[in-house]
Amino acid sequence: MRGKDEVELARLMRAALAGDEKAYADVLYRLAALVRGFVRRRTAAGGIDPEDIVQDTLLAIHLKRHTWRPDAPVLPWVYAIARFKLVDAFRRRGRRIEVDIDAVAETAAEPEAETVSERDLARVLESLSPGQRSVVAAISVDGRSIGETATLLGMSETAVRVALHRGLAAIARRFGQEPS
């Protein structure tokens, strides 16, 4: 099952990197479920909202997707990112933990669903400029496409893409600073 998963994930990732938005959203949903399983087991002691780490990891996967090598398996790359974000979150809370990388193979396979973090969306959006805020909100909360958002806000599609990209990078930076 793992081998088949991996082949499918790699296929979707390659399509995503070629600009296929549908394949990209698809692979992100699957990875979110796998990362959730990975993080849950390691935050069982409490104190950290696992969904925060899932979201940190997804943002990092997105902003660093060019560090996946198309000839390499997807999951070791994803779990290395999740592990880095998990250790970072614990470090910011002033706690040291050992996240055993070898345990990944046996324990990480179970996808889990439940998808709300304790972070308040309004507060997340607060850190953005007004232009970025309306673009990110239109696309994420309202589920609009790039084209619809451009029409709605009277912007060019390119400007929407730029605002979205910068907004997401700003959110990632913000998540990297706060004690989650």
Partner: protein
């Protein structure tokens, strides 16, 4: 905040795909070599007797050492910039240059009388060496740290130190064409110190700049 909402936003940001990390390294290395060469030719230039020096084993060994160091460091650095890449498996490549140097030092001590060791170690150019290698290597180090920033090093400090080794190996390759102290005793001491300074600088800078 709902993770599904976040995914919608990430999915819409699929285009344009960023420059692949491999391409970023090609670019960084492709720029680092001419940058180091330019600084070298402006501040030093090759020694006048370089044609004759090329026929001596000690002179040539300097390049074997510096190129082995730069090559091994770049191979490890490339992997350290990408999560999950097998950096540990490439780590022995970092040992090639020090082992070659240890053998060369042993050989030098075997063929040169003990009374001359100090003279050869001190040489004539240690201050030029200590200053020039970091100056020539600064540009390449900046380029390598920029490539690390583009990537996702899970150990930014370590990656920065290895970036410093790579920049130091590259800078020392140019510097070796200028320096008239060819004894492995000199190279093992002063080149190593100068390259270590770049490694330290790389670690400090990357810990701050290559976080993600």
């Amino acid at each position: 905040m709902r993770t599904d909402d976040l995914i919608k936003a990430l999915g819409a940001d699929a285009k344009p795909a960023p420059l692949p990390q491999r391409g970023a390294w090609r670019l960084a290395i492709g720029l680092a070599v001419p940058v180091a060469a330019a600084v070298f030719f402006v501040i030093l230039g090759p020694r006048p007797d370089i044609a004759a020096a090329m026929h001596t084993a000690r002179f040539l060994f300097k390049f074997v050492f510096t190129l082995a160091l730069a090559g091994g460091a770049l191979a490890v650095l490339y992997r350290l910039s990408m999560p999950g890449a097998p950096a540990r498996r490439a780590a022995p490549l970092l040992l090639v240059a020090p082992l070659l140097m240890a053998a060369a030092v042993a050989l030098e001590m075997a063929v040169v009388p003990a009374g001359d060791w100090t003279t050869r170690l001190v040489g004539h150019n240690m201050l030029v060496c200590l200053a020039s290698i970091p100056i020539i290597g600064a540009g390449p180090l900046a380029l390598f740290v920029a490539a690390l920033r583009h990537g996702a090093p899970t150990r930014p400090g370590l990656a920065g130190a290895v970036a410093g080794l790579a920049a130091g190996g590259l800078a020392a390759t140019f510097y070796a064409a200028h320096c008239t102290d060819d004894s492995p005793l000199f190279v093992a001491t002063w080149y190593t110190l100068a390259i270590a300074a770049l490694a330290l600088a790389g670690a400090v800078v990357s810990r701050r700049l290559a976080r993600w």
